[in-house]
């Protein structure tokens, strides 16, 4: 029996304990990682798939359903992946704008003096948030957009035609039963964009609602007693203060939207993920394709974060 005043054994000494714990953890993680990597190397060598990037220059051999960049099957893989990335960026940027506008409208609607409008805003958020996005995307594509009429039955508005063959903008003409216009968006793009905007708007609406609710009620009352109209109060007095809470919240929603755009494959849109999947199936280069995919999404996330942090710096309270 040792006396109570004896120093604790070395493995409970406060000076060594942290290093002991970290050493054990580092050893465990290191062993696991080394085990996985050695297997990876062994397996890849056995199949002749060691890390190499030269296949990026080989002709892709598949065509893309849509691409802004000129593309055909004879162009190399990296051009296909680039076209996919551009398609992803296109839908992400359009989605950010759409989801912000719709989300702000719905978020502010929950402060309307009209009870029905308030209720509807609440119902919208509760319904959309509790249904999986993938299910919504499939619904928009197969049930709504693929059921659109074609030819002369298409939905026609001045300067705009919505048909099963796509959305046509800028004076569409019907040539031999096929719509043609300077600007065409495919229904795949339309379904993906609609789904993403409707889904993300529900989350954005909650962020906006939380932001506006964070502004003390006295601000509204003071503005109204000074004679400001409700909309002017919202725009000039409440929103600038609410933005301090809203912008950080929107940041994470925007990143979610960028990541969610990878579900494009469910409605047949050729985004980065969908092109990568085809590339992998053709080349078998799983590790390289994976690295490209993860890297691209990481860069998109970082860019969004950086932009939003810049915006955050602009709206934060300047305290002298």
């Amino acid at each position: 029996m040792t006396s109570r005043s004896a120093a604790p054994p070395w493995w409970r000494n406060r000076r060594y304990l942290p290093w002991l714990v970290q050493g054990v953890v580092a050893l465990a993680v290191g062993v696991v990682v080394a085990f996985l990597l050695s297997n990876l190397l062994l397996n890849l060598t056995a199949r002749g798939l060691l890390l190499s990037w030269s296949w990026l220059g080989q002709p892709a051999g598949f065509d893309l359903a849509e691409s802004i960049l000129p593309f055909d099957a004879s162009l190399p893989y990296w051009r296909a992946l680039l076209a996919g990335l551009v398609n992803t960026l296109r839908v992400v940027i359009a989605g950010l704008v759409g989801a912000t506008v719709l989300g702000t409208l719905i978020g502010t609607a929950s402060f309307s003096s009209n009870g029905l409008l308030r209720g509807l805003a609440r119902v919208y958020v509760e319904v959309i948030r509790n249904i999986p996005l993938l299910l919504q995307l499939i619904f928009w594509y197969f049930v709504v957009f693929l059921a659109l009429p074609n030819g002369t039955d298409a939905i026609q508005l001045p300067g705009l035609v919505l048909a099963k063959s796509g959305l046509f903008l800028g004076d569409p003409q019907l040539v031999n039963g096929v719509w043609q216009a300077p600007l065409r968006f495919s229904v795949e793009f339309g379904a993906l964009l609609t789904g993403l905007v409707v889904y993300t708007a529900a989350f954005n609406a909650e962020v906006v609602r939380g932001g506006i609710a964070s502004v003390p009620k006295g601000q509204w009352e003071a503005a109204s007693s000074l004679g400001f109209a409700p909309l002017v109060t919202l725009r000039r007095i409440v929103l600038p203060q609410a933005l301090r809470v809203i912008v950080p919240g929107l940041n994470s929603q925007y990143i979610s939207l960028a990541k969610n755009s990878s579900l494009a494959v469910a409605c047949g849109f050729t985004d980065l993920y969908s092109v990568s999947e085809t590339t992998l199936n053709q080349t078998g280069r799983a590790v390289e394709v994976m690295l490209i995919l993860l890297g691209s999404y990481l860069v998109i996330d970082l860019v969004i974060s950086a932009l939003m942090n810049g915006l955050n710096g602009l709206v934060q309270l300047k305290e002298r």
Binding site: L40, N114, N130, L134, L135, F139, K259, L294
Partner: protein, 414 residues
């Protein structure tokens, strides 16, 4: 009892409607436009649901949607599991309902809705209506009724005699849930004398629920560990957790599932890689753990540093102080966000259909590929949406009830 508010301040339903919908001229116009829109939408939906929709696509495939291609002669195992689940639910429900209410001054326990008779009524209505709506055969209908009756019987019996049980037995009763989970796994997958059913034969709601519960149960402890690591003072733990969390959160789930399906085989020695279904389950778990970690971290941040310091200075060891002092307080704050992540996880199981597994959505897609049901997209996806909505909304409601229950300012004191 507070005195009733003056009658004049309480508008009647008519005045209330007038104030809410027709407060000003603009409000009136908006209300009329919205009412017209709602009426048109409701009429259109009703017309479609009654005259155009062909709901046989649901009833003809109800088994497929429920359990996928689970072998018919082994389905008794799933019935047995459902019966056990109903018994356990009834037992827990009855016991919780009969918990002694604290003195008449405190508010009643809120965790189990005061009007849990309503919950029972809804359950009975659903049990009566659902088999009819699905046009199940009489034998299966009878089974559902019997299971519902058993649940209600267990609830009644537990409420009647539960309090008479010795305290030790009552404390052991929550253990039936983990036990039931293990029994359920054996019943579903086979082993211990039962015929093996390969995971590739699981499908539909069975696969969705199995994946979701598996990932939820495992991602939670992982997430708590990661959150503790993220806030640790040991640089290696902190940076390791940070790296992991940010890596997972930076990647879309679909790319990680894709990684699981295509690269896990390379990372493990030949033959050791798990089945496709289990690979997906582990990816879901590790994915959700990073998000749960962030939710728990926000809870940990809300606990004053003095709590840990006080616990340590009282002589509690670090793990003991964390488990008994810091985490209980942190979890109370982190609860809504954590349950929010669980709801997201349940929704994320639909992504399994993109890597070729037959979860609910995957099953729906195979049904759509059957020429007999061509063009019945709307019916199937609408039913799935309602199903997911009910599950997620119920989880959300439960979380809110639990939050109120755990709030020290509202909960009855012992």
């Amino acid at each position: 009892m507070a005195p009733a508010p003056p009658a004049t301040l309480r508008p009647g339903p008519w005045q209330w409607l007038r104030r809410e919908l027709f407060g000003s001229r603009l409000d009136g116009l908006i209300s009329i436009a919205l009412l017209g829109f709602l009426l048109a939408a409701a009429l259109g939906l009703a017309k479609w649901a009654i005259f155009q929709a062909q709901w046989t696509v649901i009833s003809a495939n109800s088994t497929l949607f429920a359990v996928g291609r689970y072998p018919l002669e082994q389905q008794w195992r799933l019935w047995l599991l459902t019966t056990l689940l109903a018994l356990a639910t009834g037992l827990s429900w009855g016991l919780l309902r009969a918990l002694p209410r604290s003195g008449s001054s405190g508010p009643p326990p809120i965790l189990w809705p005061r009007n849990d008779r309503w919950a029972a009524a809804i359950l009975v209505l659903l049990a009566l209506w659902r088999p009819l709506a699905l046009q199940l055969t009489l034998a299966i209908q009878l089974r559902w009724w019997a299971i519902t009756a058993l649940l209600l019987l267990a609830r009644w019996a537990a409420g009647r005699w539960g309090q008479a049980l010795p305290p030790l037995v009552r404390r052991l009763i929550p253990l039936i849930w983990p036990l039931l989970y293990l029994v359920g796994m054996v019943l579903i997958s086979g082993g211990l004398g039962l015929v093996q059913v390969a995971p590739s034969d699981w499908g539909g709601l069975l696969l969705t629920l199995l994946m979701a519960t598996f990932a939820i149960l495992l991602c939670f402890p992982l997430g708590v560990l990661l959150a503790l690591g993220r806030r640790s003072t040991l640089p290696l733990l902190r940076w390791g957790s940070l790296l992991y969390i940010e890596f997972i959160r930076g990647a879309p789930l679909i790319t990680l599932l894709f990684l699981g399906q295509n690269i896990l085989g390379f990372l493990l020695p030949g033959g050791l890689a798990p089945d496709r279904v289990w690979r997906a389950a582990w990816v879901l778990t590790f994915f959700a753990a990073a998000y749960v970690a962030e939710a728990v971290r926000s809870g940990l941040a809300a606990v004053p540093a003095g709590q840990l310091e006080a616990a340590r200075s009282l002589g509690l060891s670090m793990p003991f102080a964390l488990i008994h002092v810091v985490l209980p307080q942190a979890m109370r704050v982190a609860l809504p966000a954590t349950v929010g992540q669980f709801i997201t996880l349940l929704q994320d199981t639909t992504l399994l259909s993109l890597i070729g597994l037959l979860d609910l959505l995957g099953t729906a897609r195979t049904v759509m590929a059957n020429p007999a049901f061509l063009g019945r997209n709307a019916e199937v996806y609408l039913v799935l949406a309602v199903l997911f909505w009910c599950c997620c909304a119920a989880l959300g409601l439960g979380s809110r009830a639990l939050e109120t229950r755990l709030n020290p300012n509202l909960a009855p004191s012992r």
